[in-house]
Symmetry: C2
Subunit: 228 residues, 2 copies
DNA sequence: GTCTATACCGTGATAGAC
DNA sequence: GTCTATCACGGTATAGAC
């Protein structure tokens, strides 16, 4: 069975293949699984669907990834590293000492990588943005341990940055506002409309990334900076 | 098999029973299912777990409710009616003609029933608030049709009210802001912490309803009323 | 009408042949 | 690495007891 750590270091597989020369078995499984998990959800996607569309044997999933759970984790881990790196790079750029740090700049530093990722199919595209957002929003059991260890940097960096950008507030208030802010942002990119389920007349196109950001940023910034 | 419409009209079952005199089969199933769906999620809860704890036969679920999907719908429908009614009653109270209608009053008209419900075990309590919030946030396939027909009133009433409370904005902007506002609010009561999953030092108690509201309302109101 | 026992098929997982 | 066979468990349907 393939080593998980290796997958994060070695060149990223998938979607860089010419037609007619198929990528290897593990990559074919990852690509198909990613698409099906987004389309139908984790539980509703069976290994038999995945292996059939990937044109591999059913047992190949367990051989290469160990289990359906571990396959999901691999699908996620293949893409999340570069995304977090992109956010941290944006943070580096706006956190230059001496420079003013605004809440809007921080929100944008997160939103912009989301937008970039959603327009880059070679890194998963809009499909993966939705998978990532939903998985985090739904607090998916499979990622609680895998992610919490590895990517605490992400939250720590943003926590410190928000403390700097909003010095007038106590850290508990900032924690709550970050909690709400990231909740809206992830949900916005998850592409689910909480109101559509109740049936609404005035429909919002919750799938257009540019449109999302145009309305999202002012809302979140206002919430973050509102007087207590 | 029991008629679904009947369940919404007849006195609500469950949790009003003395010890030692068990409620009927269908009610025992509903009570146990509600708890297990919240604790473990829909997919991870098997009918055999439910029927075992409810001390009924496996086939009783299919007899009384038709399927696992329909059972979930029944669990949801038993509680959602009174909740929506409570919201509409709050709306009636603040929508008196001649009276000023603020965004904060509208937010409160939704948040207060959530708080009341989460403190009333006889109507499902905090357990059901979480189930409701998660189900809506996750855009659960089982409720897309069942809810969209019946409770469009909810969204329509709030849409009109927000148009009145925020006359300076165009209806498309209002739609987006409502979308974000209800997203944060439902997520807040869902009890999931998007940041905890990344691992954080400054932890927020995302399960204390009073604490949620104290921080939630200013955030949402600021986002709704922010200048464009 | 209500409840029970049981059988059916699809699911993820695994052992072992090649 | 790959494939087949097999397993236990899941939701579901039904025949029949009371």
């Amino acid at each position: 069975m393939m080593n998980k750590a290796t997958q994060l270091i070695t060149p990223i597989k998938g979607q860089d293949h010419m037609e007619a020369n198929k990528p290897d078995t593990a990559t074919r499984i990852l690509d198909v699984a990613e698409r099906l998990f987004v389309e139908h959800g984790f539980e509703a996607t069976s290994l038999r669907m995945i292996t059939q569309q990937a044109e591999v044997n059913l047992a190949a999933v367990n051989y290469h990834f160990g289990s359906k759970d571990a396959l999901f984790e691999s699908v996620f881990m293949r893409r999340i590293g570069p995304f977090v790196a992109a956010c941290l790079a944006e943070l580096d750029a706006i956190e230059q000492p001496g420079q003013a740090l605004t809440a809007e700049a921080l929100v944008t530093s997160f939103v912009r990588p989301c937008l970039a990722l959603s327009k880059d199919p070679s890194r998963g595209g809009a499909l993966f943005v939705r998978l990532m957002s939903r998985t985090l929003v739904e607090n998916h059991r499979l990622l609680r341990e895998a992610l919490s260890q590895q990517y605490s940097v992400f939250v720590q960096r943003y926590s410190i940055a928000f403390q700097r950008a909003l010095p007038q507030f106590e850290s508990e208030d900032i924690a709550w506002r970050m909690h709400f802010a990231f909740t809206v942002m992830f949900n916005a990119f998850a592409g689910n409309d909480v109101l559509k389920i109740f049936g609404r007349s005035q429909v919002v196109n919750a799938r257009d990334p540019d449109l999302i950001i145009k309305h999202l940023v002012p809302f979140v910034v206002a919430g973050l900076t509102a007087p207590i």
